[in-house]
C-alpha cells in the first residue's frame, strides 16, 4: 500500500514518518511505529522496552498488521488530535500523567526564547525563588 509523509507531533516534537492514509485512518507499519515512537505489538501486548500495555483486540489496533494511530492513542490512554487530510496529528500527554507530575510539586523545567531568541530555562534559576507569571497581549 502506498505511503505518504505524515507529521506526528509527539510530546511537542514534530516527527515526519511514512503512513498509509485509508479513509480518515492513519496506519503505520510496525517498523515505523517502532522507530518513531518506540512501541511495538508483541504477544504480550503493546510494548516499549520492558513496559507492556495489554491489548484486548490486536486486530482492531493493527488491521492487516499496520497500526491504526487512533487506536494506538486509545490503548496508550493519550489524547490524539488528528487532521488526516492535512497529514498531521498531535499525540498529547494523558491527564493522569500531567496531573501526577503537578501533584509531585516538582516545577516542570522548560526552555523558551526571549524577544531576542535567547533560550532560558527554569533550571537556570535553581537556588532562587521564582515567580512564574503567565500573561499575554490578549
Amino acid at each position: 500500500m502506498a505511503t505518504t509523509a505524515f507529521t506526528l507531533i509527539d510530546d511537542d516534537e514534530a516527527k515526519t514518518l511514512q503512513a498509509t492514509l485509508l479513509d480518515e485512518r492513519v496506519l503505520l507499519a510496525p517498523e515505523v511505529l517502532r522507530e518513531a515512537l518506540g512501541w511495538e505489538l508483541r504477544d504480550q501486548g503493546l510494548c516499549r522496552g520492558p513496559l507492556c500495555v495489554p491489548v484486548a483486540d490486536p486486530e482492531h489496533l493493527a488491521p492487516g498488521g499496520r497500526i491504526d494511530l487512533c487506536q494506538l492513542a486509545e490503548v496508550l490512554g493519550r489524547p490524539l488530535a488528528l487532521a488526516a487530510r492535512e497529514g498531521v496529528a498531535v499525540l498529547g500527554t494523558a491527564a493522569p500523567e500531567r496531573a501526577s507530575r503537578l501533584a509531585s510539586l516538582e516545577a516542570p523545567d522548560f526552555s523558551l526564547p526571549d524577544l531576542e531568541g535567547r533560550l532560558h530555562t527554569l533550571a537556570e534559576q535553581r537556588g532562587k525563588k521564582v515567580l512564574l507569571i503567565a500573561y499575554a497581549s490578549w
Binding site: 487532521a83 498531535v90 534559576q125
Partner: protein, 189 residues
Amino acid sequence: MALDRCAEDPRPFIERAQPTHPSLIDTEHRLAELYHVVNVPTLIWIDENGRICRPQDAQFGTDTFTAFHGKHSAPYLDLLRRWVQEGAGALPPEEVRQHQLVPSPESQQARSERRLAWWLQEHGHAEAARTHFERAAQLAPRDWTIRRGSMPILGQNPFGPEFFALAEEGAPEYPMEALTPTRQTSPTG
C-alpha cells in the same frame, strides 16, 4: 511568559517595561500545558529547590482593571514581598496539592486540538485550523488560553464583543483564588 502567537504581539509591552527578569515567549503554550494554566494572568510560586509552593492563582500587579475583575493588587503585592523577604506565605505541600487546578482528559484533549490548530494555522491551513480551534473550545470552554488566546489568530478582538460574550459565561477560577485575600482593599493581617 507571554502566551502569545508571536514575539511581536507582546514586544511593545516588554520593551516599554524594560524588565530585569527573563521575559519569554510561549507560542506553543508549552508552559500553559506543563502548569495547567487556563487564563492570564496566572501566577505560580516556585521555591529555591524548584518546588511549587503556591499553585496557580489569578492575581494582578496593578488596579488598572479592578473595576472589571474585583481584585486589588496591594494585598497580593504584600504577600509577594513577605515571601521574597521573609519566606512567609508559601504553602505546605498538602495545601499546594489541595489548591492546584488539575487537568482532565477533556482539557488535555483540548490542548492537543489547540496545538494541532496552531500547527495548521502556521502551515497555511486556515480552514482546518478553525475547525480544531473550535473543537478545543468545545472541549475546554472555561480555558481562556484557548478561547481568548485564539481570538487574535482568528481575527477577533480579544477586547471586543466576542470577548464580552465570552466573559458573560463566567471567567475560569483557580481553587487558590478563594484563599488569596485580594477581594478587599485592606492589606493582609
